[in-house]
């Protein structure tokens, strides 16, 4: 071998070493790009987890809200008839009256008055609470559903006749920045007004039942969305895992290429030594 000249075998070995070195550089670049993909997938997975949690919380919140509304509506439905019927009989039936003392009629009128007060309070409170729930502020693609959310537990004070409403409001006093109907007990309502209040109770109570149906539709929407988001999360997780695996393969193959390049160089040295003998 002339000084500085490589034989054919050595040239082939140099080519192999070079090929594996280049392959290793190429795979290193792929690892860097793959790392970007993995990062993007991880961001998407985190976003999707957050979305699934949001949808699941909304669904559970609605379920509990439905339960709350159901308990309230059941309460008013069960007792309002019995109390008013007793009030009516006390008013009309002398024989019936004998079974009660003089306080009975006032007490029963109070039950009905207070029920109106409480049902208004319950509707207002549940409406206000609903406004503070995340599903209320969710961006619905379906306009009809959006309207259903906004109209939950809505009622108009116009349901209540003006004279009765004014009387009710006159009982309110300001307590610690809020209003309480402290004087309701003292406000006198005529027999007809008590019947009107009894009817308002049913009308207002119906709003709970209507809202329960709306809540059920909204809950179904979230359940479907959650199912879709969960499936998407599953796919993303699998793809993310695949990307990570691919990155690991690139790293391992890059290491293997580096080793093979080094091996080729060692063979080159070995060849040179043997040639020099």
């Amino acid at each position: 071998m002339r000084r500085g000249k490589l034989n054919n075998k050595s040239v082939i070995i140099v080519v192999i070493a070079g090929f594996f070195a280049l392959l290793s550089f190429f795979l290193d670049q792929l690892v860097i790009q793959q790392e970007d993909n993995v990062r993007n997938f991880e961001i998407n997975i985190q976003n999707k987890i957050e979305k699934v949690n949001e949808l699941s919380t909304n669904s559970l919140t609605i379920l509990n809200l439905e339960e709350r509304a159901q308990t309230i509506t059941n309460h008013y439905t069960f007792f309002s008839t019995v109390f008013y019927k007793t009030y009516l009989n006390l008013e009309r039936d002398d024989d019936f009256k004998k079974h009660f003392n003089k306080r009975a009629r006032k007490y029963l009128a109070d039950f009905i008055k207070y029920d109106l007060n409480w049902i208004l309070y319950d509707l207002t409170t549940i409406k206000e609470d609903t406004k503070n729930m995340s599903f209320y502020h969710y961006e619905y693609k379906d306009k009809e559903l959006q309207d259903k959310v906004k109209s939950l537990f809505s009622f108009s004070h116009d349901i209540i006749g003006k004279s009765i409403y004014d009387k009710m409001v006159s009982g309110y006093v300001e307590v610690d920045g809020g209003f309480e109907n402290k004087k309701l007990e003292d406000i006198k309502f005529s027999s007809n007004e008590i019947y009107e209040i009894y009817k308002y109770l049913f009308q207002l109570n119906k709003e709970f039942a209507i809202s329960i149906k709306k809540l059920n539709d909204i809950s179904n929407h979230f359940d479907k969305e959650e199912e879709n988001a969960d499936n998407e999360l599953g796919l993303l997780t699998v793809h993310g895992k695949k990307e990570k695996i691919l990155k690991n393969y690139f790293i391992l193959i890059s290491i293997l290429a580096q080793i093979l390049s080094l091996t080729a160089l060692l063979f080159l040295f070995r060849n040179i030594i043997k040639e020099s003998l």
Partner: protein, 299 residues
């Protein structure tokens, strides 16, 4: 002399120095052996990683299902609370009504209509979506038939009867209750005269009471059936989760075993290659020594 080593003269001095040929060859051969071993280890890692990844994918799928079951199981107490509230409130109202009914004036307040009408709606209200939406009753049937082996335990679940009952309830709900009642009818206030007529002895109330007593019993049965359904689902979910837990433990063990085997395989490859290296070295060094001896003699 500056950067002389970059021209490999120093390296050349060591490598091509004939006095050190045998030692240099030995070092290079050892380095080749090490690179071969490293390459073998990398290939073994690639192979084992591939196997582990397959297992991890299956494990991930099982974990997802397990998480779904956890989520579903967390809903059971909420549903039980809802049912308990309805049933306990019904009991309270029934006792209140019966208490009034037992007084001397009770006949004028508590009619048969009063006894059953509102309670029926209160009990049936939260269950209407069972029959108006697909709650996946057939899925329960499919899961149980697929997962459980025929035998005493499967029979004790009584799921066929439960599913049969569902279809009976659905039929009654759609063909009887839904047709013969109006939406939100419990929110209609009666007129004064109707309220006064609504007594224990009113024929109209007796008739309406009989109709709603039947619906009340129906609503009560639905609630009881739903309690049984929840119980069944809790058992099935628990069994499925236990089975999946075992499956996950097996997958984890298999992954650990694969990792252990990887280390063993690498170690065995090292021993095997070392033996080959020693044998090759023995022949190569002897051949180089004889070659050098021949050349020395020729000189």
């Amino acid at each position: 002399m500056r950067f002389n080593f970059t021209r490999l003269s120093l390296l050349k001095f060591f490598i091509l120095n004939k006095k050190r040929t045998r030692r240099t060859l030995l070092i290079i051969n050892f380095a080749i052996f090490l690179t071969f071993f490293a390459a073998t280890a990398a290939i073994i890692s690639l192979y084992v990683e591939n196997k582990i990844n397959e297992k991890e994918f299956t494990l991930m799928e099982t974990q997802r299902t397990q998480n779904y079951f956890h989520q579903m199981r967390s809903m059971f107490p909420v549903l039980h609370t809802s049912l308990d509230n309805s049933l306990m409130f019904d009991r309270l109202v029934n006792r209140f009504n019966l208490f009034i009914s037992s007084t001397n004036f009770g006949d004028k307040i508590i009619s048969d209509r009063e006894l059953y009408f509102y309670r029926t709606h209160a009990l049936i209200g939260p269950t209407y979506d069972l029959f108006e939406e697909d709650i996946g009753v057939e899925d329960i049937n499919f899961v149980i038939d697929t997962f459980y082996e025929e035998g005493e335990y499967k029979d004790s679940l009584n799921h066929k009867k439960l599913i049969e009952k569902f279809y009976y309830f659905k039929k009654k709900y759609q063909e009887d209750f839904k047709k013969n009642t109006k939406d939100f009818e419990q929110y209609t206030a009666l007129s004064k005269s109707d309220l006064l007529k609504d007594t224990e002895y009113s024929q109209e109330s007796i008739n309406l009471g009989a109709k709603y007593e039947d619906y009340f019993n129906f609503a009560w049965e639905i609630n009881m059936w739903f309690v049984d359904l929840l119980k069944l689902m809790e058992i099935v979910y628990l069994d499925l989760m236990e089975s999946q837990k075992l499956e996950m433990e097996n997958f984890n063990q298999e992954i650990i075993n694969l990792s252990k085997n990887e280390s063993r395989m690498i170690f065995l490859a090292f021993i095997f290659q070392l033996i080959i290296f020693i044998i090759i070295q023995f022949f190569e060094i002897s051949s180089v020594t004889s070659e050098l001896a021949k050349k020395m003699k020729q000189k």
